[in-house]
Symmetry: C2
Subunit: 93 residues, 2 copies
């Protein structure tokens, strides 16, 4: 069972993730890539990480701008899984 983080713990972890914002039980990051093909490459790399973690972010593709949104729906809140995957996404970007 993955434990829901308190707001203060979520915000503490958010402090390490520049570019991410928290809106309630969701953290999100928007990023503009150099081109549409480059954005799709990033989607593919994030998709591999997501599948490996069995944790899938919502991804919005708007030409070369991507938005990733993470929340642990099965737990009903933010958990360590969200911040772990956010850190992995940051390594791709």
């Amino acid at each position: 069972m993955t434990e829901i983080l308190s707001d203060s713990e979520a915000d503490r972890r958010l402090g390490f993730r520049a570019g991410w914002v928290r809106t309630g039980a969701v953290i999100s990051r928007e990023v503009e890539l150099a081109s549409f093909p480059r954005a799709i490459e990033v989607v593919n790399r994030v998709a591999e990480l997501a599948e490996a973690a069995d944790h899938h972010p919502d991804i919005d593709i708007r030409w070369r701008t991507l938005t990733f949104r993470l929340s642990t729906h099965s737990a009903g809140g933010l958990t360590a899984k969200d911040f772990d995957l956010a850190a992995q996404i940051d390594e791709v970007l």
Copy 2:
């Protein structure tokens, strides 16, 4: 210059595109794939078509459910480009 289609012409063309709905100047299709990796494969195939057409749909990835949205922002409405790409997307699905 790509010509904006009248509502009646847009709806006529929509009649050939099962699964697509029109909301004002946007047509969209939502589709659920068998798995997340399969959904990402579809995103890649649609991305190739989009880049070739230089016309990029908004794409929302929600685990194995994809939503495609098409509109010709440069023209300020729906044009033949939207329905042409919708037909190509349908061939992928």
